[in-house]
């Protein structure tokens, strides 16, 4: 089985209690499936993220970077070896 590495920064680190995790996958999975898994593994994170189908998920709850690039695509396919970073959506000003 191969792995995806997920880094938790800032508030997400606070909610999960750890800075990173590795999640095993046997085949490619979508981003929303990964978020569902994380929500199940880390209930406080799951409670915080709430409805993963919510239109505002990526504007208010969580920003996702895959291999350094921001994505708002729930259906984005993740492959073994990908590096995923979860942070709160940041805005300046």
């Amino acid at each position: 089985m191969s792995e995806i590495t997920v880094h938790f920064l800032g508030l997400i680190h606070f909610l999960t209690g750890q800075a990173e995790t590795k999640t095993g996958i046997s085949t490619d999975i979508t981003l929303v499936k990964l978020l569902e898994r994380l929500a199940w593994s880390y209930p406080e994170l799951g409670h915080y993220m709430g409805d993963l189908d919510c239109r505002q998920l990526f504007n208010n709850k969580v920003s996702v970077l895959v291999n350094g690039h921001l994505t708002c695509d729930r259906g984005r396919v993740l492959s073994p070896g990908d590096k995923v970073v979860l942070i709160v959506p940041l805005c300046g000003g």
Partner: protein, 624 residues
């Protein structure tokens, strides 16, 4: 009179020593709200061309918004609006705490200062009455001492502690980046508002008020319900929950990992000790007690203690992210407690921390590269991380002693004094003031929002990495030249509307966005404002400020950023990215989106007419 307003402005003529009450019409309230908007309206109408910022003819406006003091979350907010001595243009600096709420509850929507007193005075406002009093006993005191002395002097048994906004030595000496401080560490920082206060020999404003902000009688229940919804949404968002649990320092690691933390005047991008500056570490390491602003539901502001090491015994306001970045990696300091100490000192002296931090980091880079020596700096060895030398230098600047006299004019003028390549190293925007303390090269939304700002700080909301559905920007705009420009045009209107409501921006980023704020505003005032009307208020304010700035010579070239900010970072997440090839086009796209002439940046007649500013067309025509 709509709810949310007392309807009374206090005008203080410091030359004559007179105080008069004035009213403001409901039409002006609805068109400009309060805060930045009301201040801009007064500034535009009362400060003609040729008035020097530090002369008696300039106005200094302390203005609240309709929400201020109403019980809405984060509604201790007030704005200080004036013509900036640092930029020469308009500035609006906001601060939170309790001061704004108590000013409103004392019976005034705003205080307008004009003229200059022959000797130091302070204004004492108490439940609808106001007096000018001699400030001899607090002149030359630092801001925290001044607050304590005046609050204790006026405190009566059984009554609440009076709230004080004041200047420190920097303001008294008219340092061009002097700030106004209130509530032991809340700062109206930008643009030298404290210098204008000092030029008027006005040391402080003391407020006592226990009145109630009126709520439209027919919608009290709706207003209470709107407040509950607002609180829920504010604490539920990623930004809000971060602030609540970790303070704004909780953003340090995410910012660092995104390449947004300034390191050594932007000469580097790597900072090994970043975790020690993060809210996770700070809240675990330094004990603190909640010290919230008026009506704030968040555990954001705290009094915290340093219990060990060189700074043991220091009790201070928990620094914000920008304080930590400015006095941490930006000056090569890896000790968070030292950053707390420098933040506390900056606040006590009454200096704007962003200008001070980018000034010091410029000097350090110039020393490293041989453009300056200790001999040029009164013997101070200003090498990276030399916190003691920084502290001595800040005191010299605030008192304009020795080399401090030359440095009291901020980053841009200091770079000109140093000469050679210093202007290439300086971090500034427009005609010369420091931006917010980030490595803005990888924050295109923020840097652009500073470059085109009309009010001395970030004008809009950086939507590089998050959307804002309430204003039709559903997805982050990323590094897209058109996307950033168009988002700034839209988000600037939102931000300026918010800045005129009298609430802290940290409670304005919940999921309901502007819809929630307008729902509460309508319940408070009895209006029937739509979201589009709210955005139009923001747009009107930006245009009015633009016209004011044009009056003082603002041209296209003033919507600009310094060469250092156009250099691409050599490494890190922003490596290779630079605004340089795109900036001119982005500015043009922004002008067009705002309904301005793309060549001159002047608002077009049809834009002014749409915003109800047609009577101001003549002013533009005269300039052309």
């Amino acid at each position: 009179m709509p709810g949310g307003y007392t309807g009374v402005l206090l005008r203080v003529d410091l030359t004559k020593g007179t105080l008069t009450r004035e009213t403001v019409s409901p039409a002006v309230q609805r068109s400009y709200m309060g805060g930045t908007g009301l201040g801009a309206y007064i500034l535009y109408n009362e400060v003609p061309a040729g008035v020097d910022p530090l002369s008696p003819g300039n106005r200094l406006v302390f203005s609240t918004g309709p929400f201020t003091g109403s019980g809405v979350p984060g509604s201790g907010n007030y704005s200080v609006v004036t013509r900036s001595p640092l930029s020469g243009f308009a500035v609006s600096a906001q601060s939170n705490g309790h001061f704004g709420a108590v000013l409103k509850r004392a019976g005034f929507d705003a205080v307008i200062f004009q003229g200059a007193s022959p000797s130091p005075v302070y204004l004492h406002v108490k439940n609808g009455e106001a007096y000018l009093e001699d400030a001899g006993e607090v002149w030359s005191k630092d801001t925290f001492e001044t607050e304590d002395l005046l609050a204790e002097k006026h405190r009566r048994k059984g009554s609440q502690r009076p709230r004080v906004a004041c200047i420190g030595p920097a303001g008294e000496n008219m340092v061009l980046f002097a700030a106004v401080e209130n509530d032991m560490g809340h700062i109206a920082a930008s643009g030298g508002v404290g210098a204008v206060m000092g030029s008027k020999k006005l040391k402080a404003v003391v407020v006592e008020g226990n009145g109630r902000v009126p709520v439209n009688p027919g919608s009290r229940d709706r207003f209470k319900s709107a407040i509950r919804q607002w609180v829920r949404e504010a604490k539920d968002s990623g930004m809000g929950l971060t602030i609540d649990k970790l303070g704004s320092a909780g953003l340090f690691t995410p910012y660092y990992k995104n390449g947004w933390v300034p390191v050594k005047n932007l000469t580097e991008t790597s900072f090994a000790e970043y975790e020690k500056f993060d809210g996770l570490y700070i809240r675990q390491t330094f004990p603190g007690k909640r010290n919230s602003c008026y009506a704030c539901p968040m555990d954001h502001c705290r009094r915290m203690s340093v219990t060990g090491g060189r700074y043991a015994g220091l009790v201070t306001e928990e620094p914000e992210y920008e304080d930590l970045a400015g006095w941490g990696p930006n000056v090569g300091n890896s000790d968070p407690a030292a950053a707390f100490y420098l933040t506390d000192l900056t606040d006590r002296l009454g200096l704007d921390l962003k200008e001070a931090a980018f000034l010091v980091s410029l000097l350090m880079e110039c020393c490293e590269k041989g453009l300056l020596t200790a001999g040029d700096l009164d013997g101070l060895e200003l090498c990276w991380g030399n916190v003691d030398a920084v502290a001595v230098l800040l005191k010299k600047i605030a008192r304009k002693e020795g080399v401090g006299e030359k440095l009291a004019c901020g980053v841009f003028r200091a770079a000109r004094w140093i000469g050679k390549e210093a202007l290439l190293y300086a971090v500034y925007v427009k005609r010369g003031y420091a931006p917010h303390i980030h490595d803005l090269r990888t924050r295109w939304g923020t840097i652009f929002g500073q470059a085109i700002s009309q009010m001395g700080s970030i004008q809009g909301i950086d939507l590089t990495s998050r959307g804002s559905s309430d204003i039709g920007v559903d997805q982050p705009v990323g590094f897209s030249e058109n996307g950033v420009s168009m988002a700034e045009a839209r988000s600037g209107c939102k931000r300026q509307f918010e800045d005129s409501l009298g609430v802290c921006l940290f409670v304005c980023r919940g999921s309901g966005g502007l819809d929630t704020q307008i729902r509460a505003l309508n319940a408070l005032t009895g209006w029937d404002m739509s979201l589009e009307e709210g955005l139009e208020v923001g747009e009107r304010i930006i245009n009015l400020l633009r016209l004011f700035n044009i009056r003082f010579g603002h041209c296209v070239e003033d919507d600009s950023i310094s060469p250092r900010l156009l250099e691409p970072p050599k490494e890190g997440p922003g490596a290779g990215k630079s605004l340089a090839p795109y900036f001119s086009r982005m500015r043009r796209v922004y002008y067009e989106a705002m309904g301005w002439d793309p060549d001159t940046g002047h608002p077009l007649p049809k834009t002014l007419e749409r915003l109800g500013l047609q009577r101001l067309r003549q002013d533009v025509r005269l300039l052309e």
